[in-house]
């Protein structure tokens, strides 16, 4: 038992996590004929709460309730894993990444997310505006404009051999590279974080 706990609290390797995530695709198809996709949940919340007569939000969102229940599960899963299965050690991050991030003032590896950014105090300065508000807007607007996110396009779409999803995934990656290598540092300076 102790060995099992030691094993399960370790960070899981990619070759365990990736296939488990991939299995979500047939699991959802078989249990309910559902196509895997997470960003749609954001659309359903908009449709449920502020449809404002916008054609994009006036559809029967109640039929898509499964998707909202699914993301609620993801949130609970995050709680369960952190509360009962947490890794006692600090996160291991590539040394080259640590060096790059040190230049951005990020050196705290005590949690899964950098403590310098992800705290409520950030909401009182530029950090919160940049990382949460602008970042969140880009995630919400971009995924809906693209018609899906990493789950709907990269995993579900490419798995079902649909080239528009491969195209979307290519541009997800290009956007990520552009932000990381070209924009992140200047933006952090602009918002007074550096």
């Amino acid at each position: 038992m102790e060995q099992f706990i030691a094993w399960i609290t370790q960070p899981w390797p990619w070759y365990v996590a990736g296939p488990l995530i991939g299995l979500t695709v047939p699991a959802l198809l078989i249990i309910g004929n559902k196509s895997f996709g997470i960003s749609s949940s954001l659309r359903h919340v908009c449709a449920a709460c502020v449809p404002a007569n916008i054609p994009f939000f006036t559809y029967n969102w109640k039929k898509e309730m499964w998707n909202l229940v699914f993301v609620l599960g993801v949130l609970i899963g995050g709680f369960v894993a952190t509360t009962f299965l947490a890794n006692p050690d600090t996160i291991v991050v590539a040394e080259a990444t640590q060096e790059d991030l040190a230049a951005l003032g990020i050196t705290d590896y005590s949690k899964l997310l950098p403590a310098e950014i992800f705290n409520w105090e950030s909401m009182t300065n530029g950090t919160g505006i940049l990382f949460f508000i602008i970042g969140g807007l880009m995630v919400g607007f971009g995924t809906r404009y693209a018609g899906g996110c990493t789950s709907g396009h990269a995993i579900m779409g490419i798995s079902s051999l649909q080239w528009p999803s491969l195209l979307a995934t290519t541009f997800f990656m290009l956007g990520g590279f552009a932000m990381t290598h070209l924009l992140l540092e200047p933006l952090m300076r602009l918002f007074g974080i550096l």
């Binding site: 365990v16 749609s40 952190t82 990493t150």
Partner: protein
């Protein structure tokens, strides 16, 4: 002409469609909660929710995320092929349907914008929920902001190139 007008005002189809014809309510939805919980546990235990892992990926300094996404696609692909080859039915007996993704310019422009946000927040929509559950409550601000972004897209969808 009428058809074009219809096209503009008719609700745009959901991208992750629910192809089940039978309705589902209450306890029937519990199975999605359980899959969601398992999925959230994997996200946290494999540290996919970590902003650091996303940075490693975009800096090409670790294979980890490429391994996760690549092996997830491989397993998904094989599963779908098996479902098609053996004509596997959904549990309620309906034939399994997979929505077709049509090409739109949004996959390029919107995809790029999402990529910018992904590298900044360190989260695609799935991990957003798992991060909040993990106790990073401030990510709720990101979630609300992502909802606002989704709403803005819906509001201006007809004015954007598509």
């Amino acid at each position: 002409m009428k058809t074009t007008a219809d096209k503009n005002t008719a609700p745009i189809q959901c991208e992750a469609p629910n192809n089940q014809e039978q309705g589902e309510q209450g306890l029937a939805l519990l199975k999605y909660l359980i899959i969601g919980i398992l999925f959230g546990i994997v996200f946290v235990k494999a540290e996919i929710v970590s902003w650091f892992r996303i940075q490693e990926m975009f800096r090409l300094q670790s294979f980890f995320m490429y391994g996760v996404i690549g092996s997830a696609i491989a397993v998904g692909l094989v599963s779908i092929q098996l479902i098609k080859r053996f004509n596997v039915k959904a549990l309620n007996g309906e034939p399994i349907k997979i929505g077709k993704k049509e090409f739109r310019k949004g996959q390029i422009i919107g995809g790029f914008i999402f990529g910018l946000g992904w590298a900044m927040t360190g989260a695609c929509p799935g991990p957003l929920f798992a991060q909040i559950g993990s106790g990073f409550t401030v990510v709720a601000v990101t979630l609300v902001s992502a909802l606002a972004g989704t709403w803005l897209y819906g509001r201006f969808a007809d004015k954007l190139p598509n």
